[in-house]
């Protein structure tokens, strides 16, 4: 089997009775990749993660880790470790005992497992909190303990289920940086489930966008953002206008659109329905004559030179090279 990949999914399917949650998805994740599974709720991303972890049986297909078929192995034998959405720290154990839990289950003597646990608490800068109970920690601190607990088994793949969703927005950005740093330092693959495209774009080496139990696009974030394959992707990752042109649907990035006068280039006429000040940019929402809602992200200086108000007639223009043709969804 091919050893260049940490994780391979070969037409993995999950069915709950008559409902198809994941439909024959295939994916190869190269060594040491930060991979984000991204999609709206109910798209099958969490189910996919749980199947890789071994908490959900696959209905059909195979999961390979380091070339070895693990589809029928229990979680601990897969070389994976999972960090749960609400962290699932054991409330009756100190942080040290939480981190040392898996060593205790393996029968490692108390002294040795505590020493190892302290080492991993140090890795996540939580050495001073060894004797605290999880309830005495903030969300961000709990997350670090959960991380140390997952890493102590030296997993080949770390699985993270919406790890940032319980944190406030400021902390989210900080913890996001730490996750990325840790992944780079450890050199192992992280698979991170999220519904936030910001998070995925900031973190991922490989961004896997899912919808309805299918993988719709799987590529580095920049490729996905610059060349979304379908109207769904373009809309889901945001900052794109999806329009119907002569030969099918097209996408244009909102930041490449301007308010101006119709010239020879591509344009669309409509009426301003909202103006949102966003700091560096101003977002102008326009309802086109065809009824589509599109928007232009205009640098603030440019906007205030010639401001627009809701109700004004407006023309959205962009240059030909920014027109991106989409596959029909």
């Amino acid at each position: 089997m091919d050893n260049r990949f940490d994780v391979e999914l070969a037409s993995v399917t999950k069915r709950y009775g008559a409902t198809l949650a994941v439909d024959a998805i295939s994916l190869r994740i190269p060594r040491g990749t930060y991979c984000c599974l991204l999609g709206p709720s109910g798209c099958g991303k969490t189910t996919t993660l749980r199947m890789i972890a071994g908490h959900e049986a696959v209905t059909d297909g195979d999961i390979l880790i380091h070339g070895e078929n693990v589809s029928d192995l229990p979680p601990i034998k897969r070389g994976t470790a999972m960090m749960f959405q609400s962290y699932a720290l054991f409330p009756h154990m100190s942080c040290l005992d939480n981190v040392a839990f898996s060593l205790k289950m393996r029968g490692v003597a108390k002294k040795e497992r505590h020493a190892r646990a302290r080492e991993y608490l140090g890795l996540v800068h939580m050495a001073d909190y060894a004797d605290r109970l999880p309830a005495q920690l903030s969300g961000g601190q709990q997350q670090r303990i959960a991380l140390a607990r997952a890493l102590i088994n030296r997993p080949r793949v770390l699985l993270l289920d919406e790890p940032l969703s319980a944190l406030d927005p400021f902390l989210r950005v900080k913890v996001r940086e730490e996750l990325k740093r840790l992944q780079r330092e450890l050199g192992i693959t992280f698979i991170h489930v999220t519904h936030s495209q910001d998070e995925a774009m900031a973190l991922a080496d490989l961004m896997v966008v899912m919808e309805d139990g299918h993988i719709r696009q799987s590529a580095p974030p920049r490729d996905v953002f610059e060349r979304p394959v379908s109207p769904f992707i373009a809309r889901f990752i945001g900052s794109h206008n999806v329009l119907t042109a002569a030969h099918g649907q097209i996408a244009v990035r909102a930041d490449r659109c301007r308010l101006g006068a119709a010239g020879d280039g591509p344009h669309v006429n409509g009426q301003v329905i909202a103006v949102e000040y966003q700091g560096a940019m101003v977002r102008v929402a326009v309802k086109t004559e065809a009824g589509d809602e599109v928007s232009a992200l205009v640098p603030d200086q440019m906007f205030y030179r010639k401001p627009a108000e809701p109700g004004d007639l407006a023309t959205l223009v962009w240059s030909e090279q920014d027109t991106h043709a989409l596959m029909d969804a």
Partner: protein, 285 residues
């Protein structure tokens, strides 16, 4: 003109507070009278006025004679309550964990299990007594009486465990599995310790329900009485403040058991700090 918001309480507050006070008096007044009268002087009777105070009626409970059966029936009640409590905990914890997942017939099984809560208690006891007679078995403490009491404590324990298990986060178990715990280790180190406050509650509840059970026990006990049955027999034969002394003593035992379990649970909750509160805010975020 709009009415200003005032800090004063409306008259309904005082009306309802009075009603609640009357209710408390009605609930605890008679018991309080019994506790006071159990300290009746040696020449006093079963009603007020108090003729001095003494503890002779308490001494009489432990002296051989008319009250000879009280200590031994007290022991019977205690040991029966202990066995009922252990069985209720084991069965309702297992059932509580099992019922987290729907399975074919789970609804029917649930209603079957809790139906005995609404059945007339005397009839349940009567049925079990009849059944034993029909089979030619001798009713006794740890057979028919134990079974009869379980028909009362098990549905109670089941309901309590449902409430406890409801707040149990499934991902704790998954995390344990993920970290390599076997099914047994998961139960031993994660599930049971987290559920422990609830389990102690069920144990104490079952204990006190069994300890003062009368209706189901009376027709299934056989020749040797439990404490409530013994006291009832005494009420119809003897009238002296000794009965009150017994009442005070048994209440003391019940309160002691509840107090001990309450302290245990409080200690555990303090150790876990603001756990539930935090979990709530995490899920809401």
């Amino acid at each position: 003109m709009s009415e200003r918001i005032s800090d004063k309480r409306p008259w309904t507050f005082y009306a309802l507070a009075t009603l609640f006070g009357a209710y408390l008096l009605f609930l605890y007044g008679p018991m309080f009278v019994i506790y006071v009268l159990s300290f009746q002087g040696p020449n006093g009777g079963v009603t007020f006025p108090m003729v001095g105070t003494s503890v002779v009626w308490f001494q009489e409970v432990f002296q051989p004679g008319q009250m000879a059966n009280i200590p031994v029936s007290f022991q019977r009640s205690l040991s029966l309550a202990a066995v009922v409590s252990v069985l209720t905990v084991v069965i309702s914890v297992a059932a509580g964990l099992g019922f987290r997942r729907r399975f074919p017939g789970s609804g029917a099984l649930f209603y079957l299990a809790v139906a005995s809560l609404v059945m007339p208690s005397l009839l349940v006891g009567f049925g079990i007594g009849l059944g034993f007679q029909f089979l030619g078995w001798q009713p006794s403490l740890f057979t028919s009486a134990l079974g009869a009491q379980l028909t009362w404590t098990l549905p109670f324990g089941l309901f309590a465990m449902f409430a406890v298990v409801n707040r149990f986060n499934r991902s704790w178990e998954e995390a344990a599995t993920d970290l390599g715990a076997s099914a047994w280790q998961r139960l031993r180190y994660v599930t049971i310790p987290i559920l422990l406050p609830g389990i102690i509650g069920v144990a104490m509840g079952a204990f006190t329900l069994s300890y003062d059970e009368y209706a189901r026990t009376t027709l299934t006990i056989g020749p040797k009485n439990t404490l409530p049955l013994e006291i009832y027999a005494l009420i119809s034969s003897a009238t002296s403040p000794t009965l009150f002394a017994i009442g005070t003593l048994t209440t003391g035992v019940s309160f002691g058991a509840i107090l001990v379990s309450l302290l245990l649970v409080l200690r555990m909750q303090r150790r876990r700090g603001r756990l539930d509160h935090d979990r709530l805010s995490v899920t809401q975020a």
